[in-house]
Symmetry: D2
Subunit: 377 residues, 4 copies
């Protein structure tokens, strides 16, 4: 199904080759200043054709708000948004009529639905993410107003090249505390804030592009200034909701919060984050292996996590595979395709993060209100 969130909720529609893609966002606070200008920047960061590193399919991806705002303010009612599909070429993928593309969704879709969209994968198209990014931009605006929440994602790995993201590294935590979206974009289309590493990443991608191959990577995301108390114990721990959100992004294969997989071999005596009170009287931890979440609930420290993206499935070189009919053969995808999707995934990771946080923030606000009712100070 195509709905995400409970209090702050998005529902999306749209395939690669239909009239438009879009979404309905519900639960948006009323009275918030909001126009297309708040939403378009992240959509533009997401769209293809931004550089030689990504697919040449170029679309303006201009969002049009349909409802839920008047005179530049939200009404508190559901916000409809659409982005027209201008580049509809339903026959461009004809070779995929014979062969399901390996590691793409062609075969599973056909089996699941018993019908095949002309583009093969239907909703598995990257254009599906437009609705997420548009909704996420609204969530992000709310979070910024709420507590000055900052969400910054960046490319931290491509192939075997990566920035230092050792959870014990001071440098890594300094980067997390300071990196801005502007710095990420200044790094060029690769969106890695470490220039030296960025150059190597670009080289890797170009090499794969030139050999009609593809390569994966890792996105790291940090959330700063989040209030204490978001996330629900048990099933809806904050890291569980983030993991759900991240693994719902196309091509993702992994998620780790805080110390993550590396943390499994750090002893408890080191891994535990001791408490202290800082100069502003805030209860803090002196290390942050927890990644800003303890017991499923935000503790006010930076939230940071890594998301693994596999190498894109669509490559231009020949692939030995089987036709739908079970006949072995060779598939050669026409057209040009992203040799690496990680840079374009940045605004999607940020959007999904914002959607999770806005939802949990509203839920906690309801609880706080109920607490002050039953137990007034």
């Amino acid at each position: 199904m195509s709905t995400f969130g409970t209090y702050f909720r998005v529902t999306t529609y749209g395939e690669s080759h239909c009239k438009s893609v879009g979404c309905i966002v519900d639960g948006v606070p009323p009275g918030m200043a909001l126009t297309e200008d708040d939403i378009q920047p992240q959509l533009s960061r997401r769209r293809p054709g931004q550089s030689k590193l990504s697919t040449p399919r170029s679309e303006a991806d201009a969002v049009e708000i349909q409802s839920g705002t008047e005179f530049g303010k939200t009404l508190g009612t559901s916000i409809g948004m659409i982005v027209r599909n201008k580049d509809q070429r339903p026959h461009d993928y004809s070779e995929t009529d014979v062969y399901p593309r390996p590691s793409h969704a062609d075969y599973t879709y056909l089996t699941k639905y018993g019908i095949k969209a002309s583009s093969g994968g239907g909703r598995s198209s990257a254009r599906e993410t437009i609705g997420r990014v548009a909704a996420g931009a609204i969530a992000e605006k709310f979070l910024k107003l709420a507590n000055g929440v900052e969400i910054v994602a960046f490319v931290s790995g491509v192939g075997s090249v990566a920035v230092d993201r050792d959870p014990t590294s001071k440098k890594f935590h300094e980067l997390l505390s300071t990196v801005t979206r502007e710095q990420v974009d200044q790094a060029g289309p690769i969106r890695c804030p470490d220039p030296e590493v960025a150059d190597k990443m670009v080289k890797i991608i170009e090499d794969h592009r030139d050999s009609k191959d593809s390569i994966g990577g890792v996105v790291t995301c940090v959330v700063r200034n989040l209030p204490v108390g978001l996330g629900e114990p048990v099933f809806d721990k904050l890291e569980a909701l983030l993991a759900h959100a991240m693994l719902s992004i196309p091509a993702t294969k992994g998620f780790e919060i805080g110390s993550g997989f590396a943390g499994t071999s750090i002893s408890g005596s080191e891994h535990n984050d001791p408490f202290y009170v800082d100069d502003n009287g805030r209860f803090r931890t002196s290390t942050n292996y927890s990644g800003g979440i303890q017991g499923g609930i935000s503790n006010g420290e930076n939230i940071y996590f890594n998301v693994a993206f596999k190498s894109p499935a669509t490559i231009s070189q020949q692939q030995q595979t089987s036709s739908y009919d079970g006949v072995a053969g060779v598939l050669e995808a026409r057209g040009r395709h992203d040799p690496n999707v990680v840079p374009r995934a940045i605004p999607i990771v940020e959007a999904m993060t914002a959607l999770v946080l806005a939802d949990t923030l509203l839920l906690q606000k309801a609880r706080e209100a109920s607490m002050s009712i039953v137990n007034p100070k």
Copy 2:
């Protein structure tokens, strides 16, 4: 909130020191043979006190079905289950009245709810997982009847010691295809099916236990015989639901499906899983980097994933930290605690996996029925 799933759904209750813990399971197929004997084995695998590797707190954890079955068959109505708390010692944690335990949920719970359970963390207690395991056992029975689905989890890493789980390793895939729950348990309390590695793991845990410290680890889980077509595109991809489920388990820090983080540096030309038709006429892939899921939908291959567990936060050695009042001091936890939770996490991982799969199976069954209605063959 305390509900997981939509069509196959569990709702849980219970803290460490209340009368009982339990759950209500809804959406269970009617007419299925079911008694406590189907549920108790996994609860017994989960309970503490099974070996020197785990906490001595010993409880029978006997489940009592309250409703939803008659004469050993399910009625299709909601199934209530309770497990009494016999070992209630509300004052055992008194030192935590002064100090929030580092990297535990004491501080975040208090801030979130404005009230503190005597055990500190309230629902963050490991006893919360009893309801999950009980519900998961029912889901598992349904899945086994549905398609002979097999779910086997095992300890694949403790500290820096790990079994070979390289996604390119043939040996690893052979293990995934053959490992049984019996083999896992025969390996002793460590629940690692590779005896040599198991010995090293035990040594690491014992060392940490002896130094009043703790250590983390990794659980690997495989699902065999799952039908093609489970999981929804977009937000509820099968891997997203699994990630949500796994990161909701206490002490987890990471999730990776198929090739996972390692897969980010494997080129697309290698990473793509070519299709072929096997001797039984089934559409298969010759490799399985995808981990049995493509486009968010199961493809019939083995699903496998890793879950990272951090070192337990509660350790017996002294920890420099701060009291709730902001006074720096030393916390020394009394009592004995698990130096490593990974072996006991095995049935929890299996249970949460089963809950996700039963839920997606019911949804897909509804769709398949609707397909055959609108498009009869």
Copy 3:
């Protein structure tokens, strides 16, 4: 929030004076023939300006499918639909800037959201129902294919004039068993299948229109050929879902199923519907006071219910009331308004009925599939 349903689900957006209104429909069976031609007829029955009995605001209300179909077949993915707002006159309601219209939603919206749409009531506009009708048309097509399900609503009362709808009346049950949508529309814009009563209804509405007043009415709806077994015990009884759906339609004040309020004074010995087996071997009831639902579950008999609609709140005559500022004064609504909404409510009642039934049908189909798995015959 703006979502209805679980398995078969609609999410809507749109106010009176925004760019478009629309919806996203999720859970639609894949492979079903579907074009705008399946949807437009009910939208055309809903739209204003159809006769002198309704508001002259005239709009084509042409629906455009955005996604989820290809070559006239559904893909199983979410279906976006939009209807453009052509008649946007944001200043036509300016007098309502001073006075909240009595019994309209102006005051409650402003208090709830702290902001006022130029049209006053925001989502309380009748245009909000377009998304429901569009989604309902899809649900209805599925139901017809599923079991030949027929849903027919008609005007059974206007003011104090009503058709015979005594639950003990044979004539009433004959009408329920035979009435068609064609008959309802042939009755003219009043949509009452009894010509004599229809004439009186028209007279009442015209009288109220001429005196710048308004009047309410009752819609009766019958569902035929529904399979046995839809609806869930406890909270989601079929009549509870229908009541929810009906009372969510603007201007409704009441709902009764089967014998309804009249049935409260019929003794059990008469009210109980005895079972028998009909000539086709079907288990039937010889009377139908239950209205086709027993224990919250459909029993295969005709489902029938009444929905009360109040007199429209917007009238053209002067009304003594208070301004937002608390100053007593006189409100005189400009423009022309529906003196009675009941005829236009017919397709909305049918749509909401279809949405409930499609949702419960899918849920039951999942259960039936699970039953045959755990208890094969």
Copy 4:
């Protein structure tokens, strides 16, 4: 499924003849004083055996809180509650093994689930409502603390005898504004606050009891002191949620809010509720045909509604019907049964009302918090 509500949510389990019935309540505000003493009174009002007017099956129905509270205060976590079934007589209904009871749920349950509980109707037992009443008592306590919200239900009709509940009647509105739960109970087991009418009602019930028959009735419920702004436009209008809640109670056949069905023949010029500002500066309406809800949102006036209950299906006199096998025959129910359920339905109606209101209150509190964030004063 067995869950009701989103933010304040109850999940129930239990049939007539299982070990216990119970529920899990989630979303309860933390820090609220709560013990069994807050819950038992409404359970005791619900239980059978209170008078000659109801079934002699007598049970203590003592509730036991399992979790979610400590030292008499809520922890904010899920609250498990159980009530043991003491009067288990699985064979008392054996004649129903042959005959599905007319207008009972036996036949529809068997068809839906393919299996029959020994009590026939499974979850359609009145004992299912225990979980609702227990959860409702918690909701009610929260509402009382929140705004002094008062919920009072009473029997307003039995058979053809009724109190004056004409929406145009001043006396009726005075009753709604003043009636207390104590007054309702002082009226004796019939729970009708008008003594003269009460006597007639008792006579009707006794007559039906003596002739082994049954009779229905109407419950009226009023909510006072509810804040403005509860209920969501479109699908979750406050009256829609109340209708859903009421029609989910066993044996209900109708719901009407405010003027209800009678209001359909009151002209808009009279039916509209004019606004004024009262002596306390509150924005009020001088009449209240709306029943305290406008546009689906509470307006601060009294909410009042009627709920129709049919005559109980289980009667002791002989009934001509068909066996499951299709053989015509005579069913004679053994044992004694309620000739009228309306008095015992009072606490159930109050409970379901409280559950709806607590849920909508939490949602609106979240919105209000978000409003003050994005638009600080």
